[in-house]
Every structure is written in structure tokens, then in C-alpha cells.
Symmetry: C2
Subunit: 243 residues, 2 copies
């Protein structure tokens, strides 16, 4: 048991929740390490949604709701941390929800689909094929799902897969706390924010934005600016850390 | 299997090794997340030993070899990543090696002691008592070990325990990739470097330093400078990341 007096109580409890999902197979053990990397960058952000992240989240809402065939790609960490937020975003945006795993087994796919369904998501789970130009398990997806999508939201993605999707001509929206990652730099739009803060913001914007807002946000997207702003926030925090 | 073509191959393989140690109980699942946090900060350091880290490592060697009763405190992650480097540093410095765990069970202590012994370390393992002023399992240590030490090397420590040791009047040397952590800021001397790079550097310096070097290094210790230098390296990398 973690004592409540521990100064990192909240973060340690989230970690225990992830560890629980690792025990049941939803989260891969490597996924726990990836979560830790995210925590470090979130710490540098001050563990809050910055102004530039909010702009990115509104732009994501504009893109998802204007898409012909939007898809939300879900992996183990995303399902463990934010199954309900994914279900809510699906309702707000009309996007398909599809499970895609780096460490893929049929059993894990099934467990994660069950978790998403019990949180209220309508999961697309036709037969998977190796359709993406990648040399590991992430090549798998569904022909009528992600393969046909025009806009894909990839929370907590790996760089390879993000690159492959962009090369296939898709609009890729990443949620990634590391503004220097290949995912962050290759995505069409990068949201540098923590998952459970980012998803409700996108859902809210899906409801709120007018057609004019959407047009404006999509046309004025400047991902380099969004990444520089995230980096500026982080360096500022680092620079004042010892004050 | 991770394909060799993956750009983060080395980091992913280390993570798999840690996951293997999580399976066997050496590394706690929460330890995997802590490792991820370290990875993020190491990435900002450029995954190399900086000049200021090298100075910190030489100072650590001076302190350990000048101590009356030096102790190296080892947890699960440290044993999993660097059992041999710990054994080598023990030989070079003459320090006691004692296992101390955040998520403590007798079985885990035993497993970690066995791993250290098989790597060649002489592990001090008398009966543990709750001797440190802390409200969780980290309060446990040995009266003739850490409790009596004047200088303690704590790789990958948590902030509470570092603070408690400093309050007990001990000289605490931390190895911590996060220069903003409470551990890093409370320790007498902080080495902002990756464990398997830092330990061999300290061992080398234990062999190389003259008495005069040791006196000079100990007297000129300025931990605020060492931390600012680490932060400067990180902000520099962040600032040039999008060039």
C-alpha cells in the first residue's frame, strides 16, 4: 500500500492501476515503461493542459468531425487509462474505434475490445490483415477500418506506425507527451498533453465548434508552432526549477 | 520480437530485460514505470555522460573511498540493470552492499541478494529492523549496515528515503536522471547520469584518484552547480530539437 502522505501519491496510484492492467494482460510490461516516459514529460509540462495543447485539441475535433472516415486507434495503455473517455469521444465525433497493438496476441486484442465495450464504446473488430508497410505486429489492421480511414487519431503511438500511416496519405493526429518523438514530429497534428486531459477536451470541442471554427482551425494548423510551444513550456519549467 | 530495424532497438531491448526481471519478481511493476521516467530524462541528456556528471562521479569516488563506513543501497531496478557494476564498485570502493526495497517482501529481498551474489557482490544481509523515520517499507534497514553508515550511495532512490537519510546526518550520493526530483535536490551529491554509465566511471575514479584529488573534489563540491549544469544540457537539447 502506498501511504497517502507520499508526495507522489496520485502518480503512484495511477501506476498501480496500470500495473493491475499489466497483471491481467491489458497493458504490456513494456507499456509500463512507455507510461513512465510520458510521466516525465508531463512533469515538465507542469501536469496541465497548456494553451497550445488546447488549440491542438480543438483542431483535432475539427479534423475528426470533418472527416469522411475517422478512426480512433486504441492500444493497451490507452484502454487501461481512458476507456470511458474513448467511448465518449466516439459518441462526440462519430469515429470508428479499432484496437491496434504493438505486442499483439489475439487474446490481448479480445481483452482490450471487451474493456472498451464495457466502457460503452462500439468497437470495430472485423478480420485483421497485414495491411500496413511495417515489419512487426503493428502491420495488422482491418481493411474496412483503419486501412480505409482518411483521419486517424493515434494516442500513445510508436513512431514507425505513425510514419507508415502518414506515408499512406492519411491525416494522423497524435497524442504524445514527448514533443521530440518521431511520432510527434511526423504526425499531421500533435497534441502534447496527457491522455485523460486531452480526450475530454477534444470531445467538448466536437460539440462546441461551428463550421466556421472548424474551417479556420483546419486551415491555420501549424504543427511546428504547436511543438515549439510545448518545448518552450518545458524549457521554461526546467530553467526555473532551481529558483 | 523487436525487429533490429526499429530505431529504438537498444532501448526496447533493455526494457524487455527489465520486463523479464519483472516476471521473475526482481523488478516491481512500478519499477518499470520509474525506468521509463529515467529514459525520458536520459533522452534529454543525449544519452551520454556529460562533463558535469563526470565531475560528480569523481566526487562520489572521493567520498566513498574516504568514508568510515560507506554503503551502497540496492533496489530491484539497480540489481536488474547493473548487478555486475555494483559488484565492481564494491571491490573498488570497499563499500558494503545492502538491499533496500520500496515494495518489500522477504522473497524479493532474497531474489535480489541472490542476483547480486551471483554477479560477485558480497551482500550484507543481517536482520532488518524498522530504523528509518519513514512510514512504509523503506523504513527497514540493518543496524550494522545502512543505519551505521556515514556515506550512502543510493542509485534510483525515492525522495522520501533520501530526505530521511540526509536528516539522519548521513552523506547521501544519489544517481538520478531527473535533476528536478526531490532525491536529486535533497542529496548531498547528485549524479545526473544513467546507472550503467555512472557506476563504472565511479569505480574507475576509485582506482585513479590521489589523496590530493580526493581532498580537492570533496571540498569543492557544489551540488547546485551540478544540477544547474544538467538542466542546462537538457534545455539546450530541447531548444535545438526542432532545428
Amino acid at each position: 500500500m502506498i501511504p497517502k502522505s507520499h508526495p507522489r501519491y496520485r502518480s503512484l496510484v495511477t501506476r498501480e492501476r496500470l500495473a493491475g492492467c499489466a497483471r491481467s494482460g491489458i497493458v504490456s510490461w513494456e507499456g509500463l515503461t512507455a507510461h513512465g516516459r510520458g510521466e516525465a514529460f508531463d512533469y515538465l509540462l507542469g501536469e496541465k493542459t497548456t494553451e497550445s495543447a488546447r488549440l491542438a485539441e480543438r483542431t483535432a475535433a475539427a479534423m475528426l468531425t470533418s472527416a469522411r472516415h475517422p478512426v480512433i486507434s486504441v492500444n493497451g495503455n490507452t484502454a487501461a487509462l481512458a476507456a470511458q473517455e474513448i467511448a465518449a469521444l466516439q459518441k462526440a465525433s462519430g469515429a470508428q474505434v479499432e484496437v491496434n497493438l504493438f505486442h499483439r496476441t489475439e487474446e490481448r486484442v479480445q481483452q482490450i475490445e471487451d474493456l472498451l465495450r464495457s466502457a460503452g464504446a462500439d468497437v470495430f473488430s472485423g478480420e485483421a490483415e497485414r495491411l500496413l508497410p511495417l515489419d512487426h505486429d503493428r502491420a495488422w489492421c482491418r481493411r474496412e477500418g483503419m486501412y480505409s480511414a482518411d483521419v486517424i487519431l493515434v494516442p500513445l503511438e510508436d513512431g514507425d506506425r505513425c510514419e507508415a500511416l502518414v506515408r499512406m496519405g492519411k491525416t494522423v493526429i497524435a497524442i504524445d507527451l514527448n514533443p521530440l518523438s518521431r511520432t510527434a514530429r511526423r504526425a499531421t497534428l500533435t497534441i502534447v498533453d496527457e491522455l485523460t486531459r486531452a480526450l475530454p477536451e477534444i470531445s467538448r470541442a466536437c460539440h462546441d465548434l461551428t463550421q466556421k471554427d472548424k474551417k479556420h482551425l483546419t486551415e491555420s494548423l501549424n504543427n511546428h508552432y504547436l511543438l515549439s510551444e510545448a518545448i518552450r513550456e518545458m524549457t521554461e519549467r526546467l530553467n526555473h526549477a532551481l529558483d
